[in-house]
């Protein structure tokens, strides 16, 4: 068994172990059992993370194609393969997933309702998410893409807040509308490209012979893929499910949703839309960028006026993901590298922001900014971390957010896409706006006098919360100080996507 398969299915093994354990040890003190379930899940996710570190160690940055995985027949009758691996684009997204999962488990320690089922859904979700990033067969990709849907639906619907039913259904309907149309596109691409689901193979065939798919069909196929991913990102105007889902989801659900699930959208754009349909992508790039920039500004403006901290962070995601989409459709290596970096940075920072909001919500059961004020004096450690994370999210140099946004803006400014300079300039406004809404929120929550008597007794973080938050803060700093550590591995792969869009078919070989 290869390391990729191992990493993908370890969480599922953990789920089976958890289920068996719960069946065998069904008698006894419920509280004690629940605690054991939590530990089993924490151990399973941590082991998965440790195993995934080995992927980084063995990853060869000089290869643009897929590596470390395997390809074997899966459903021969349908022409589908079990084809997994990582390349420079998916490597760090896999790591982001395995890194955020133990933290999410720690963040859900306080969940007391149906702990066993909660943890099972978390583990199944992790397998689904890793699977999405490592699949290089379209059918396999689709399978994992949909598998992520159901656990998240339950996480929101069962463990969410008051309007959870509405949010859960909205989340499912939005995602499914996109994904089923993508399924049609997948079938169409299969037949146009000579009966194969192999993403690498299709990319190569389309690069050497773009006429495999007729021009008019290409547009619709591009649209079908793009719609699925735009909804997932979410790009303005498909973003309305996101604030609902975030606000209603439990803290860990929000961390996973913002940190990983949204990245599936941007990842899909880089994996399917750009290499498969370079000409359509180029033709539509100004339009996509327009919506991305609208999303950046709109998300930031709406975030600014939110009275609810979680909603504020949710809208900030819309704004930040706008940057990522802008960077992807700038078609320069700098911008695309920046986009990839911003995906990781956003995963870390926004995950941490949701965690911070969750920590204070657990204490006060409210997230309204006006309920707080001056808590910096009461919770010094917490406030420091919250501050660092907010600064990283708004793009302060030497923290992770800066690198991504800077590269995206730089790359977009030098892009050949029509009006790219204008988009870059307007997009840059988003950086300023993000400073406004985040700092303003910090000011109202942290600084000044303690205005609300109910806050007088607040305690600082306990050990569990520190264990969850500190790694994220450390990562934010590491990513801000040493970006080349990460960018080096993705360089080749990103370059090959860029070349594909530029119409210079750099044949991506499956190296053996």
């Amino acid at each position: 068994m290869d390391i990729i398969t191992l990493t993908t299915f370890l969480p599922l093994v953990g789920a089976v172990v958890l289920l068996l354990y719960s069946v065998l040890a069904s008698r006894g003190d419920q509280e004690k059992l629940d605690n054991q379930y939590r530990w089993i899940t924490l151990i399973a996710t941590t082991v998965t993370f440790l195993v995934s570190l080995d992927i980084v160690r063995r990853f060869d940055a000089s290869i643009a194609g897929t590596q470390l995985g395997q390809k074997r027949p899966w459903i021969g009758a349908l022409g589908a393969y079990y084809f997994v691996g990582v390349d420079g684009i998916s490597l760090w997204l896999v790591l982001l997933t395995t890194f955020l999962m133990p933290i999410s488990v720690l963040a859900s320690w306080h969940i007391v309702k149906r702990v066993r089922e909660y943890m099972l859904f978390m583990l199944v979700l992790e397998t689904g998410m890793i699977g999405v990033f490592v699949s290089f067969d379209m059918l396999l990709f689709y399978l994992f893409f949909e598998i992520t849907l159901i656990p998240m639906y339950f996480l929101i619907g069962v463990w969410g807040a008051d309007r959870r039913i509405y949010a859960a259904i909205k989340f499912v309907i939005y995602t499914v509308v996109g994904s089923l149309l993508m399924l049609v596109a997948i079938i169409a691409v299969y037949f146009y490209c000579g009966n194969t689901f192999d993403i690498v193979e299709i990319t190569n065939r389309l690069a050497s012979n773009p006429a495999l798919i007729p021009g008019s069909v290409k547009f619709w196929l591009w649209m079908a893929f793009a719609l699925a991913f735009f909804i997932k990102v979410p790009l303005f105007p498909f973003h309305t499910w996101l604030p609902d889902a975030h606000v209603e989801a439990p803290t860990a659900g929000s961390i996973i949703l913002a940190g990983i699930l949204l990245k599936i959208g941007t990842y899909g754009l880089m994996r399917f839309n750009l290499p498969f349909f370079p000409d359509v992508s180029q033709r539509l790039a100004p339009w996509v960028m327009t919506f991305a920039v609208i999303g950046i500004i709109y998300g930031a403006l709406v975030a600014m006026v939110q009275p609810d901290m979680k909603k504020l962070v949710a809208y900030s995601s819309v704004s930040h993901l706008g940057f990522v989409v802008m960077g992807i459709f700038a078609f320069t290596e700098t911008a695309m590298q920046g986009a990839l970096y911003q995906m990781l940075a956003h995963g870390i920072s926004t995950g941490a922001l949701f965690l911070c909001v969750g920590i204070i919500y657990e204490r006060r059961h409210t997230r309204l900014i006006e309920e707080f004020g001056g808590i910096g004096a009461l919770m010094p450690q917490y406030s420091t971390m919250f501050l660092i994370i907010s600064l990283s999210s708004l793009g302060l140099p030497l923290l992770n957010g800066f690198i991504g946004e800077f590269l995206i803006l730089l790359g977009t400014f030098s892009s050949t896409v029509p009006h790219a300079k204008m988009f870059a300039v307007v997009g840059a406004l988003g950086v300023i706006l993000s400073a406004v809404y985040l700092l303003w929120m910090l000011q109202r929550v942290m600084f000044g006098e303690i205005t609300n008597k109910e806050n007088a007794e607040l305690e600082d973080m306990d050990a569990r919360e520190k264990w969850a938050l500190v790694p994220l803060v450390v990562m934010a700093i590491v990513m801000g100080v040493a970006p080349m550590l990460f960018l080096r591995s993705s360089e080749k792969s990103v370059n090959s996507v860029k070349e594909a869009v530029a119409g210079k078919p750099a044949k991506v070989a499956v190296s053996r």
Binding site: Q67, G76, G79, E117, L139, I147, Y153, L180, S511, R512
Partner: protein, 502 residues
């Protein structure tokens, strides 16, 4: 008819013989027993069905026996296996059903066996006479089963409605057969095809009208729109276990006969009349498929009763299967019917257990908040519903994907139908996840008592669940056995595992 062409081969009808004999045996067992023994009946039925299944799987060489009355081919093997699996699951559930309802156990198992024998005949029919025979045996037993709870008005209504409309449909079918016989001079399906190909049709109009009437008859039996109106009432009123049985087994069996007559018989384009017939039924069925899917899915949204909802869902699924049907490739239909049968019978099994005796709790509102009270049942039901909705990694997804892929590749320009089917799937998501919302996300309604689940029911649920996942994740062996067309041959040549880079 010449005697030497009879080609008697009793091995070719072993499954039918086994099930019929078991049925008779059950009646005898029931007669000599002092007190009705459910367990003995169930075990005898199970043994018979498993033996029949072994016999079906044992068919290796294709052939035509009893002067063309009985066929052994892949259609028969796969559809017979589906029917027997459905029957096995029905028997596993039946023992708890008859006890909980306080009904006489003997006849129920006998009826299942005879219905199964009829359906098997339908799946093996190589002749229109056999189609009719099988259909009648299967239908009449199912009419009785629908009204098995004879003190219950709803069940009586269901049974009577099923009987009247079913007979009506059979009459259509029979009239169609007569006309086709008049036009071609034979009732043998293969010979009908040959006669059309050789342009030896007496009155072409007779053939077309006959085929149209048969289409209506089959359309009734598989509950395709606009011939679906009987379905919701009948499915709602019948005991849940019977609903599960008759919405899967007979449907699969009729699909088998339908495939033989239309895809094998009316398949020739060698003569002008053949060409006209062929293109007419393809186009008609494509439109029927579209209407069936849409009607089923749209009306299902507004249903409050879960059995009615699944009735409309089963109409919609007949539509999806018809999408595969019009491509003329049996494999996607056979796979679809197997997957559909497993998840539908599984869903009805859970509904039966949750509803308890007399089908008291079958409104979706009754399910409020029971999600974590009986997790094994509710999670199973959720998986079946998600599978029906076509969410991977379940049988429902794989079968839909198989049908869509086959249709997309078809020569008959069916891409529009695939897009329509996908849009329909999107609509269907809403009503399939609604019961899940009610079960898991709503507060618990008072008065819920966890249902007792017998050993047989547990086994039935485990089997259907395993089947649902097996077909959803590793369908390769089965699809290969069906010898599915596109892509299969070439990809099997590249068989080796490649380990990439280290």
């Amino acid at each position: 008819m010449q005697l030497e062409n009879l080609n008697l081969n009793y091995w070719a009808i072993t499954p039918e013989i086994i099930t019929s004999v078991t049925g008779v045996l059950l009646m005898l067992v029931d007669a000599v027993q002092k007190r009705a023994e459910r367990k003995a009946n169930a075990i005898v039925s199970l043994i018979g069905l498993v033996l029949a299944l072994v016999a079906v799987i044992g068919f290796r060489t294709p052939g035509s026996y009893f002067s063309g009355m009985v066929e052994i081919d892949q259609i028969r093997v796969f559809f017979s296996a589906t029917i027997l699996i459905v029957a096995i699951i029905a028997v596993l559930l039946a023992s708890q059903f008859v006890r909980d309802e306080g009904l006489p156990p003997g006849e129920f198992f006998t009826l299942i066996m005879f219905a199964t024998a009829g359906m098997l005949m339908l799946a093996s029919a190589g002749d229109l006479v056999m189609v009719f025979l099988g259909l009648e045996i299967a239908s009449i037993t199912t009419y009785v089963m629908a009204g098995y709870r004879r003190y219950d008005l709803r069940a009586n209504e269901s049974s009577l409605k099923y009987f009247l409309l079913g007979s009506f449909a059979t009459a259509f079918l029979l009239y169609g057969m007569a006309l086709v016989y008049g036009a071609t001079g034979t009732t043998n399906i293969q010979k009908i095809g040959q006669a059309i190909a050789a342009d030896q049709v007496n009155y072409p109009a007779l053939l077309l009208v006959g085929a149209a009437m048969m289409l209506v008859g089959f359309g009734f039996k598989i509950a395709s729109a606009p011939f679906h109106l009987w379905t919701p009432d009948v499915y709602e009123g019948a005991p849940t276990i019977v609903t599960g049985f008759m919405s899967t087994g007979p449907k699969a069996a009729v699909f088998a006969a339908f495939l033989r007559v239309f895809v094998n018989g009316f398949n020739t384009t060698a003569s002008p009349v053949g060409m006209e017939l062929h293109s007419t039924w393809i186009n008609t069925l494509a439109i029927i498929a579209l209407i069936t899917m849409t009607v089923g899915n749209v009306i299902a949204i507004s249903q409050k009763n879960i059995k009615r909802m699944l009735a409309y869902s089963s109409i919609a699924h007949a539509g999806y299967a018809l999408v595969g049907f019009v491509t003329g490739e049996y494999a996607s239909v056979a796979f679809y019917m197997l997957a559909y049968s497993l998840m539908t019978v599984g869903a009805f099994a859970v509904i039966q257990l949750l509803a308890r005796a007399g089908d008291q709790k079958v409104e979706i509102a009754d399910y409020a908040g029971i999600g974590f009270e009986a997790p094994a049942l509710t999670f199973s039901l959720s998986i079946f519903l998600l599978s029906l909705a076509g969410i991977p990694p379940t049988a429902g997804f794989m079968s839909k994907f198989f049908v869509f892929k086959t249709a997309w590749d078809s020569d008959y320009r069916l891409k529009w139908l695939v897009v329509a089917a996908v849009v329909n799937s999107i609509i269907s998501i809403y009503y399939y996840i609604y019961p899940i919302v009610v079960m898991f996300f709503r507060p618990l309604a008072p008065g819920f008592v966890r249902p007792r689940v017998s050993l047989g029911a547990t086994i039935a649920l485990i089997l259907t669940l395993l089947g649902t996942f097996y077909l959803g994740i590793l369908p390769n062996r089965l699809m290969k056995a069906m010898g599915s067309g596109s892509g299969g041959a070439q990809s099997s040549q590249i068989g080796q595992t490649q380990v990439i880079n280290r």
